[in-house]
Amino acid sequence: MTHRQPAIAPSEITPRAVFEQRRALLRQAGLLGAGMATGGLLLPGTARANLAPRPSALSTTEARTPHKDVTTYNNFYEFGTGKDDPAERAGTLKPRPWTVMVEGECAKPRRWDVDELLKLAALEERVYRMRCVEGWSMVIPWVGYPLSELIRRAEPTAKARYVEFTTLLDPKQMPGQRAAVLEWPYVEGLRMDEAMHPLAILCLGLYGELLPNQNGAPVRMVVPWKYGFKSAKSIVRIRFTEAEPRTAWNKAIPGEYGFYSNVNPNVDHPRWSQRRERRIGEFGKRDTLMFNGYAEQVASLYAGMDLRKFF
């Protein structure tokens, strides 16, 4: 007699990157476990540690951008388009009470309170490079855990091919939303395998503390191999969709900002080059790296894809 196998949801498929690096990842996990067992290392500069995140093997060892720069040089148009606007004006944002609705093509949609999200999985410190599409970059010690932890709890169905992230829409809290510089609310999206990748995190903190308002409090997403605008801030909804989401910058200027927006020095922005970048705090410019230096971990997600066409 025939036995019908249940269809495997795309979210259950081990991402190819993870599969191919499984031995390396297991080794890293083992080292991490040993590190945790020995009480963890208190690295210099982590004196403020009220979130007490554990170190991660996925962190870079490059010099971190000073906290002052990370929190005063921001693109967060919901508070104005100047780089200093968010730090000056984000006081009106109320990160509590805050909930994130997880819904769409999934078996277990639910609303999460941000304080529940803080306890959903072990908080890790992920020191990631962040490359803005404008041509500057930082190294930021985020605090969070893999997005996959939240995703799998929702049990996405086979129809869930993409994950869409929506930012708060409230001009009273976010006065920049009174200007139609972008379509509000800000929407971003990832392909399911991108969202399930170990590097993609749900982020709740920065430099060991809760996220400052101007950095996307109280909960955001960070995907370090793509241009910074893909890392949606102040998220209120995560939705599993069948169709590719229309993202904010792609809606604004489709020829300049694609859905994927992977950091790629070989594909220029129509109006400026992407070959080099200025690391904030440095005087000179440095070469931009393919996938922002995460090629080893993510290149396989795009094997065979024309990255000029799917920019």
């Binding site: 388009t81 780089k83 200093d84 404008e134 109006r271 400026w272 080059s273 005087f283």
Partner: protein
């Protein structure tokens, strides 16, 4: 006094730079500020003639040369910042930029056009060229202003508020001239550059 006023923006940048108070990306701040002041001073030079006509104040013409040279000064600071702190004198890279990036093409063109105007700003040069030829050469300031606004407009990611403002101001000032030209010559035209 106007001379001192024109120095203030540059002095302020130098002061803030010295104190490390130009923010996380000081080179971008300097580039942005020097570019903005170039456009502002260009607009100021374009307001001199309409003001002179409206107020009947020929002495204002004397200020025009100073404003124009300061515009050139800030443009030079802006260009030097790009040349040095953005491209590190990589001439091949700059040439690529000028050819491939429209906003740099027009910016570079605007700067290049400013050079002969700055070079012919002295009284001696006015005499050498003769009033009519000098006048015609210096009409390039209209094209320079348009190129400057386009440069700003085309480099901004999305928020074109400031470029649009400059476009409106420059547009109004140029429109005023066209209007007067259509109406007939002004009374009491003074010698250019005087």
């Amino acid at each position: 006094m106007l001379f001192t006023a024109c120095l203030v923006p540059a002095a302020r940048l130098a002061w803030l730079g010295w104190r490390g108070e130009l923010g996380a990306n000081p080179i971008e701040a300097v580039t942005r500020s020097t570019g903005w002041w170039t456009l502002a001073l260009l607009a100021a030079t374009l307001t001199v003639t309409p003001l002179r006509r409206l107020l009947g104040a020929p002495w204002l013409l004397r200020l025009r040369r100073m404003l124009g040279l300061f515009a050139f000064g800030y443009a030079s600071l802006h260009f030097t910042t790009y040349l040095w702190l953005d491209q590190f004198f990589d001439l091949a890279e700059i040439a690529r930029d000028v050819v491939k990036r429209p906003f740099i093409t027009v910016g570079f063109a605007a700067f290049v056009l400013l050079l002969p105007l700055a070079a012919t700003s002295t009284n001696a040069m006015v005499r050498r060229l003769g009033a009519r030829r000098w006048q015609r050469l210096h009409r390039a300031v209209y094209l320079i202003s348009v190129l400057g606004v386009l440069h700003f407009w085309w480099l901004v990611k999305k928020d074109v508020t400031e470029p649009r403002l400059f476009a409106l101001v420059m547009g109004a000032l140029l429109a005023a001239r066209l209007w007067w030209r259509w109406r007939g010559p002004a009374p009491g035209r003074s010698v250019p550059g005087a």
